[in-house]
């Protein structure tokens, strides 16, 4: 077996750990059973660093860094669970709720939603920010699936899985800031897409109820993500 990379030694929450230099802080934390909340990250897709939930503190560094997109370094002292981080994380979740139209009670993903689960785990008891009540369009033109942009948190897992795994690149993002929306092809109806293969990978990686199967009632949309590490591992072996 070829030498993979050098080993770095560092501390996570005061605990000595070692890691390969090409590993991220999140990789090492997960290996050692240290919980860091994530939303845009999913095993099998490239790193995005979009949601900022995995921000951690590194001693001597003034800014916070995303654990998913920061490689380990020799002698790093990382804190993953401080009052400051807990505050920011709760704030991020609240901002996600206030930016879209999230109504868990009538959502097909109620009980199977990563945003809802994190809101609970991170202790959100209410949203301190006024809801923006944006007008966001629902696309029901596809035969089997629905895109409800009201529930989208712009994690871009759908964009990445379609491009990197399926190779279709049907999804993209249009607009900037609070106007940003996921669109299919050149902002044309999903049902008219010439590139979509209807594989359903985007539906299953979506952490919320934005991409779902048609004909599901409240709480019935269970996501299946087991295909993803399998497919991405297969490709790595081939290389």
């Amino acid at each position: 077996m070829a030498t993979r990379s050098r080993i770095k030694t560092l501390k996570i929450n005061g605990r000595d750990v070692s890691a390969h230099e090409d590993e991220t802080i999140l990789d090492v934390a997960m290996e050692h059973g240290v919980f860091i909340p994530t939303l845009c990250q999913i095993e099998g897709l490239t790193i995005s660093g979009a949601c900022r939930l995995c921000l951690v503190e590194v001693a001597g560094w003034r800014r916070l860094v995303p654990a998913c997109a920061t490689h380990v370094e020799e002698g790093m002292e990382i804190n993953t669970d401080t009052e400051r981080l807990r505050n920011y994380r709760r704030m991020i979740i609240e901002l996600l709720f206030s930016e879209g139209n999230h109504v868990c009670a009538v959502c097909v993903s109620n009980g199977n939603c990563e945003l809802q689960a994190l809101a609970q785990r991170l202790g959100m008891d209410h949203v301190r920010f006024t809801n923006l009540q944006p007008v966001r369009l629902v696309d029901m033109t596809h035969d089997r699936f629905v895109l409800d942009r009201n529930r989208c948190i712009l994690c871009l897992r759908c964009v990445r899985v379609c491009d990197e795994i399926e190779g279709a690149h049907t999804w993209d993002v249009k607009g900037r800031g609070s106007e940003a929306r996921v669109v299919s092809d050149l902002a044309t109806p999903w049902g008219d897409s010439a590139t979509c293969t209807s594989c359903g990978k985007c539906v299953n990686v979506c952490p919320v109820g934005a991409l779902v199967k048609k004909g599901r009632a409240i709480g019935e949309m269970v996501k299946r993500q087991d295909f993803l590490p399998y497919l991405s591992n297969m490709r790595e072996v081939k290389k």
Partner: protein
């Protein structure tokens, strides 16, 4: 022993939180020794009392009546509990917010009504332009998420408050639960 006075209030919600409250079943009998329900859709009193120790408020603030009511309740209440997702986050009632009130009324009383096309203007209160969660109108002391919160959750909240403690709820309920 003086009993703790409790009010339960129904603003813009479906009454599901009140159903959950009643779902406490026989535990209500034990609670009756410690609390006195002085104002509620379930009791006869029409005017909010001068002072209430704990108010459990279901529903969002949607109408001019809700707005006046919650202001009055806040002024005459010790601990105000936002009960359920409508009270905490405006929830389903707020789904009309992206639309204008006139359009909502037109939809409800004209487009979808076969007969008697008219907007009610007497007895029923007018709708506010935007449905708000309670904490955006008055200060809320305890937030109880859930649609509806379970009877167990409500029982826990009441018994913790009776014991003089602040309920810790994140591992007991969640939005939509």
């Amino acid at each position: 022993m003086t009993k703790v006075s409790v009010a339960t209030v129904w603003l813009d919600g479906c009454s599901g939180c009140h159903m959950s409250l009643i779902d406490m079943d026989e535990r209500l009998i034990d609670l009756a020794d410690q609390i006195d329900v002085v104002y509620s859709p379930l009791v006869d009193r029409k005017e909010y009392p001068d002072w209430v120790d704990v108010a459990l408020v279901e529903g969002a603030v949607s109408s001019t009546e809700d707005f006046e009511k919650i202001k009055k309740i806040r002024a005459h209440t010790g601990i105000l509990v936002a009960l359920g997702d409508c009270a905490v986050a405006a929830n389903v009632p707020a789904m009309r917010n992206p639309f204008k009130v006139e359009d909502v009324m037109a939809r409800g009383y004209f487009e979808t009504a076969a007969i008697q096309h008219q907007v009610p203007c007497e007895v029923v209160p007018g709708l506010l332009p935007v449905v708000r969660p309670i904490h955006e109108v008055v200060k809320v002391d305890v937030f109880v998420q859930g649609c509806p919160p379970s009877a167990d959750t409500i029982h826990y909240v009441i018994t913790e408050l009776l014991a003089g403690r602040a309920p810790v709820l994140y591992d007991r309920t969640r939005p939509g639960a």
